[in-house]
Symmetry: C2
Subunit: 120 residues, 2 copies
DNA sequence: TGAACATATGAACAATAACTCATATGAAAG
DNA sequence: CTTTCATATGAGTTATTGTTCATATGTTCA
């Protein structure tokens, strides 16, 4: 009513006010939805998807992944950092080399479900 | 060997050459992996996640969603366009208003799986 | 201790994308 | 046909992010 810019917010379309309120109570809290988006953001890059796919098959060192994807060691290392922070991959050190692997089977499930949507 | 920048590509770490080659054959093709990343990119924004979550409960018009998320009609419309293009939502027209809803149950499955990872 | 190698990381740059603003489209009602 | 209302869209701006480049860290071996 006292809204300055009427184009911004439709005040008249309050026909479905009941629906709006019902849904509002069921919505998870802001922070959780934000975290969920952040998780998917990690999957939303083809380099990282490739890294994850590669790790389906076998644990692997940074250098091998870089060679496999034909990318620089630095680029891969940066992305592994992101994957590590999201708890999607874990690593173990063996001398000079660091082996990365998937953190759990969740990752594979999530990706497979995405693949289903793509290939249907 | 004749590689200009030796820092870029590690030529010595060919210990795991067998692993690299084995994995290479199992990797889906470039385009498919790209599409998969594109799909997750769509989920990777909190506004879109919110929209999808809202549509879990009920079909809804643009105006209602905007009001529910306290965002401009334009912003919501832009994001619905992205969701439409990814075949995550569908819509039906009823007079002046357009009702959006989830395209299939896949969307809910994907999001729920992500939630599991977050809340574990 | 120092050289060699695998990996990590900070800064800079370029590309992408979300939102705003202004306006266009499209449907219903007068 | 014109007005009104819901939605869509193009351009511009700002924020985010993936990669490169240069360099640091950390481990092994001589």
């Amino acid at each position: 009513m006292i809204d300055k810019n009427q184009t911004e917010r439709c005040d008249v379309c309050e026909v479905h006010q009941d629906i709006v309120q019902a849904v509002q109570t069921q919505l998870p809290d802001e922070e959780q939805l934000y975290d969920l988006a952040e998780l998917y953001k990690v999957f939303g890059d083809s380099t990282r998807i490739k890294i994850l796919y590669v790790l389906f098959e076998s644990e692997m060192c940074v250098c091998d992944i870089a060679q496999l994807l034909n990318m620089s060691q630095s680029a891969i290392s940066h992305q592994l950092r992101v994957l590590k922070q999201s708890r999607l991959v874990k690593f173990r050190r063996e001398g000079k080399t660091v082996f990365y692997s998937l953190n759990d089977r969740h990752v594979e499930q999530i990706i497979n479900q995405g693949m289903e949507h793509i290939t249907e």
